[in-house]
């Protein structure tokens, strides 16, 4: 009897804490999300007040079964995301651990590693990389992908590449541009991991040291389990960041479809399909995380 009342009290307390968010969800999320979905199954009569009439799933059918452009586009973007996310998370965990060491110049290094993040959401970066202004408005051609933007050039002078011959140079460039791309995505996960590493109590390491544990063992037995929750955040953040960044070809298409061709309904349908796929992906990740934490608790 007592445990029931405890559970109920906990539920009420939780609801009180979460209640502002629930109000926010209804106002600022469910309503606009519903409107967006409704837009994807209707035809717009007037943009003022979003007057529309129901049409059915025509746009969805068109995107998935009739058009030849969109399914490969989704595939490409998701393939990229699946390759890059693990790399970003591993790299940033590695860098964060190095930055958390007791070394001289740590403060300066920490600032250096978040510099791209401080520089902004990509607009200034694009300018520096001579990406031109087209990308800003999102009319990237359908064939081009974020991956084809070679930033590897910033690492090796062109003159050196000429001596390597086209084949080797190409490989080197591809490798470097991949690494650079991954590094560019690292700052936020690095900040997350630094916070996570700092919240681990030092006494754990001290007692492990007394018991004769090596650094390597301490990493696997203390650090990794203690920041497991933060690794999940980092994975989800990295995925969502790549998913919503305006330079990826799906987002660019949605943007140009909505604001250049003013086909809002079609853009909404494109977005809805995109969101469903990422939700499945995130669901799988959460499932795996739950399994891991279950086996740890056993």
């Amino acid at each position: 009897m007592k445990s029931v009342s405890f559970k109920r009290r906990q539920a009420i307390q939780g609801l009180i804490l979460v209640s502002p968010w629930i109000i926010g969800t209804i106002l600022f999320f469910l309503y606009p999300a519903y409107e967006t979905f409704a837009l994807s199954v209707s035809e717009l009569d007037s943009i003022k007040g979003l007057q529309k009439h129901y049409l059915g799933f025509n746009y969805y059918r068109n995107i998935l079964f009739e058009s030849i452009a969109y399914v490969p586009m989704y595939q490409r973007v998701f393939k990229e995301m699946l390759i890059r996310t693990p790399l970003v998370v591993i790299f940033s965990l590695f860098i964060a651990i190095l930055l958390n060491l007791d070394i001289k110049g740590r403060g300066a290094l920490r600032s250096l590693f978040v510099l791209p993040f401080l520089l902004g959401s990509g607009f200034i970066m694009q300018q520096i990389m001579n990406q031109g202004l087209q990308d800003e408005m999102g009319d990237t051609a359908m064939g081009t992908d974020t991956t084809s933007i070679s930033r590897g050039t910033i690492l090796i002078p062109r003159e050196v590449l000429w001596y390597l011959g086209p084949k080797v140079a190409n490989l080197v460039m591809q490798f470097l541009s991949r690494i650079t791309e991954v590094l560019w995505k690292c700052p936020v996960p690095i900040i997350l991991f630094l916070g996570g590493l700092q919240s681990i109590s030092g006494s754990l390491y001290e007692s492990a040291k007394v018991d004769g544990a090596t650094q390597w063992e301490m990493f696997w037995k203390i650090t990794l389990p203690m920041i497991g929750d933060i690794i999940l955040v980092a994975i989800i953040y990295t995925l969502i960041d790549m998913f919503t960044e305006s330079t990826n070809s799906v987002m660019a298409n949605i943007h140009s479809m909505a604001f250049k061709s003013t086909r809002f309904e079609y853009a909404a349908a494109l977005a809805c399909i995109y969101i469903v796929i990422i939700l499945v992906l995130i669901g799988v990740i959460f499932g795996i995380a739950a399994l891991i934490s279950k086996s740890n608790n056993k």
């Binding site: 539920a11 009180i16 502002p20 926010g24 106002l27 300018q127 919503t244």
Partner: protein, 306 residues
């Protein structure tokens, strides 16, 4: 007697090698990040002649042109927009830390029917790109709530855990709180502390690192954002600083390739645009330099030296 000495010697060398390797690795990776920033810095003080001269890459040969900064500051309307930016960023960050930690605590500690469903909705809200819901949101804010020409569309949703990436901060707080030991809270409850009081008196003071993470993220995202400000802050009186940057860059490009006409490029060019970018970066860089010190202090507090 000789054996421990030898061992010590080997340890030192290992230590030095390890340090050297760490620095080498960190600096070579940091260079990737530093390169474009250095490029931005040197571009910002170039004169027009240096900009068009392809032999000049890093070091301007015709003197440093600091006046670029003056033009950029004027074009970005610094005296009005900078205080606006500081106000908006500060307020939004403060609100986010308070509201998201509150909500995140609810998600982390209290389990009730449907709490998993709510968490699912939280993730869903994080996933949906802003651009997709832009139009319904704009209509909601301006027509239904009547929040025109104010910062309300940016600040008020933050109170409810929304706003710019609000879901992310709730998620971050939740993950940090889940890892905290429960004994502290239980002790607080036994001493008759209410759960809201427990959150503000017990949980928040020991979760400095998560507060730091969230405030850095929220601050930088708000400072650099111009998707939402461009929609809502159209009145010149409430415009924020980085909003003028795309215009500055556009001006630079237009004057370079405008049908062969050479317009007077002495005022606005790539250099002025770069100066504007440096100006918008500086405040956030300074704040970050101070904030990251608390990261270091955090270590000394917990004694978590490796």
């Amino acid at each position: 007697m000789r054996f421990p000495d030898k061992l010590k010697h080997a340890e030192t060398w290992k230590h030095i090698f390890f340090r050297f390797f760490t620095y080498l690795l960190l600096f070579s990776m940091a260079f990737v990040f530093l390169y474009p920033f250095l490029f931005l810095l040197t571009d910002s003080v170039k004169s027009l002649a240096d900009l068009t001269d392809i032999t000049v890459k890093w070091i301007p040969t015709r003197g440093l042109r600091w006046v670029n900064y003056k033009y950029a500051w004027q074009e970005l309307k610094g005296p009005v927009t900078l205080p606006n930016s500081i106000y908006m960023t500060g307020m939004a960050t403060f609100i986010h830390v308070i509201s998201c930690s509150f909500i995140g605590y609810g998600f982390a500690r209290f389990h009730f029917k449907g709490s998993n469903l709510l968490f699912g909705i939280l993730v869903l809200a994080m996933v949906i790109p802003l651009q997709v819901m832009m139009i319904p949101m704009f209509i909601l804010y301006s027509n239904v709530f009547g929040w025109t020409n104010s910062m309300k569309p940016i600040l008020i949703p933050a109170i409810f855990g929304y706003g710019l990436k609000g879901g992310l901060y709730i998620f971050i707080f939740r993950q940090f709180f889940v890892a905290l030991p429960k004994e502290l809270e239980e002790a607080a409850y036994i001493d008759g502390c209410g759960f809201i009081q427990t959150h503000f008196r017990i949980i928040l003071p020991i979760s400095k690192s998560s507060i730091l993470v969230v405030s850095i993220l929220s601050m930088v995202f708000h400072w650099n954002d111009y998707t939402e400000p461009n929609m809502y802050l159209t009145n010149p009186k409430i415009r924020i600083f980085p909003q003028g940057l795309p215009g500055l860059y556009r001006m630079a490009v237009q004057m370079v390739d405008d049908l062969g006409y050479v317009i007077d490029k002495s005022l606005y060019n790539q250099a002025t645009a770069s100066a504007g970018a440096v100006l918008s970066l500086l405040p956030i860089l300074i704040v970050y330099l101070f904030a990251q010190r608390s990261f270091v202090e955090g270590i000394q507090h917990t004694g978590a030296k490796q």
